[in-house]
């Protein structure tokens, strides 16, 4: 951010991108925070699909707490007063999209592959976040899981100097159907709440839950 002819100029030259914006403001705050991984390279979808490195089997009527990684993007906001406006978003993670379901009825999702951890692993906080996922199997049979799909508009991200995190839940309704949701609480005490892009844009998210109906 530079002062130029009485105004402000925001410049970024990295990741094969050159961004330069003249800001018509004389004062304001800058906020850099992790956000939902939905904006790069293009805002095509609101869904995030995390594929597990290994298939997970959950015992009948069991509840398990697991840890997954997820991609993050970093947003640069400017605020002249109370409202924050995004001026730039960047990411250091590899981008990939996938289809969940069939081409006729399915949905395009942001794709990410993660190991399944039983304890909190260490991750690079500028590339990946850590998700605590509580999986509840309400069925009387074992259920196998290969992926989790989330409506990422409802993500509740928290961050500290060492970690970006969120909490989510997955309720296995049948052997082929599950409901995912986010919980609005930090993984550790003292973590700050992120300002998600969709919250900053004041978009009303009516249904942050997602029903996985095209298989688990």
């Amino acid at each position: 951010m530079q002062k130029d002819r009485g105004g402000l100029v925001y410049k970024r030259d990295c990741l094969e991108e050159h961004i330069e914006k003249r800001l018509l403001a004389t004062k304001g705050k800058i906020l850099v925070t992790p956000v939902e991984p939905l904006n790069k390279p293009k805002a095509l979808t609101q869904y995030l699909l995390v594929e597990f490195e290994k298939t997970l089997a959950i015992e009948p009527e069991g509840t398990e707490k697991i840890f997954l990684t997820f991609p993050i993007e970093i947003a640069v906001y400017i605020s002249p007063d109370k409202d924050f406006e995004v001026i730039d978003i960047l990411t250091l993670t590899r981008q990939k999209f996938t289809l969940y379901g069939d081409p006729g009825n399915g949905i395009i999702c942001k794709y990410w592959k993660s190991d399944v951890f039983s304890t909190m692993p260490s991750v690079n906080p500028i590339q990946e976040g850590l998700m605590e996922l509580t999986v509840a199997n309400t069925n009387a049979q074992w259920v196998e899981l290969t992926k989790a799909v989330f409506n990422a508009y409802g993500m509740k991200l928290y961050y500290s100097n060492t970690m970006v995190s969120m909490k989510a839940s997955m309720n296995l309704k049948t052997r082929n159907r599950a409901e995912t949701d986010f919980l609005d609480s930090p993984l550790k005490k003292g973590m700050k709440k992120s300002l998600e892009v969709y919250a900053a844009r004041k978009m009303s998210i009516t249904a942050p839950k997602f029903i996985m109906e095209f298989g688990l």
Binding site: L99, P103, I108, Y111
Partner: protein
């Protein structure tokens, strides 16, 4: 006074002016309200739904105004119902094509094979759907032309909607030389697809030797991409594949023909050990 002058039955000039004013005011309100709705809801709901809401509101106001005006003009609605059948028959004969378009328009709105903003091909005309009105469907062709198609034609024509499904597949045929390593080529191509964010992970892309052609080993490459992005990905990836293969010494084969001479060419004798084009056999 002229305002009280009776024109027909008990309808006066004042009634006529009142009726005209009601219709004009209703039309203005309908226009203003639909404009306001378009602005207010622009970023809140999808364009296609917005257009339908705006049209329903606009037409409803005008229909209500007309129903209010008819009694002022001395037209009894109960009488209209009796006359409706006969009038309807007359209108039907007089405006067959308009009614046909109107009914087709209603069916198009119910069935919704195309939506506003979709890239479509209707009866050989390809473009983006700009508007679906009650009578006609408007397309903006990919070269920027305005095309108005009567709804009756749209409804009875073959429609291809390029974005009705969320993902679509495209393919290339990459011909490499017989002397090149096909497995290595397939690996390079798959790696390149994997690196492209908009080439979908699932359905899995395919790259395999499809046939041994006259001039090349043909590798078929099939890639799924979001329906809104496929053309950009298609344009981008083919050249990248060519460059990546060439970087590894694999070349795209060109048409060639091996000519056998009954008698060796003069001056060729004794030169068999000289280096030759890799695709040409030793006996050529």
């Amino acid at each position: 006074m002229i305002l009280n002058k009776v024109l027909y039955h008990s309808v006066t000039v004042f009634d006529l002016i009142t009726a005209a004013l009601i219709v004009i005011i209703a039309a203005v309100i309908a226009k203003v309200l639909s404009l306001y709705l378009r602005r207010f809801l622009k970023e809140k709901i999808v364009k296609e739904h917005l257009e339908i809401i705006a049209k329903v509101v606009s037409y409803s106001i005008i229909v209500i105004a007309l129903l209010m005006v008819l009694p002022i003009l001395g037209v009894r609605l109960s009488g209209l119902l009796v006359a409706g059948g006969i009038v309807g028959l007359a209108i039907g004969f007089a405006s067959q094509s308009i009614i046909g378009n109107l009914i087709s328009g209603l069916f198009l709105m119910i069935e919704r094979p195309v939506k506003i903003g979709n890239a479509v091909d209707i009866d050989g005309t390809a473009g983006i759907v700009e508007d679906i009105s009650i009578i006609a469907t408007t397309l903006r062709t990919f070269d920027g032309l305005y095309v108005r198609l009567p709804n009756q034609n749209v409804f009875t024509s073959k429609i291809t909607n390029f974005v009705a499904n969320v993902a679509r597949r495209f393919e290339y045929v990459v011909g490499i030389r017989y002397s090149d390593d096909a497995d290595k080529s397939v690996a390079i191509i798959k790696n390149l697809i994997e690196e492209h964010p908009l080439a979908l992970k699932n359905p899995e892309p395919q790259a395999f030797v499809d046939n041994l052609g006259d001039n090349a080993v043909n590798i078929i490459v099939r890639i799924w991409s979001p329906a809104t992005e496929w053309y950009g990905v298609k344009m981008e990836l083919l050249w990248k594949i060519k460059q990546a293969l060439e970087k590894e010494g694999i070349e795209i084969a060109f048409p060639q023909r091996v000519v056998w001479f009954a008698n060796e060419l003069r001056g060729w004798e004794g030169k068999r050990s000289e280096p030759r084009h890799p695709d040409l056999g030793e006996n050529a």
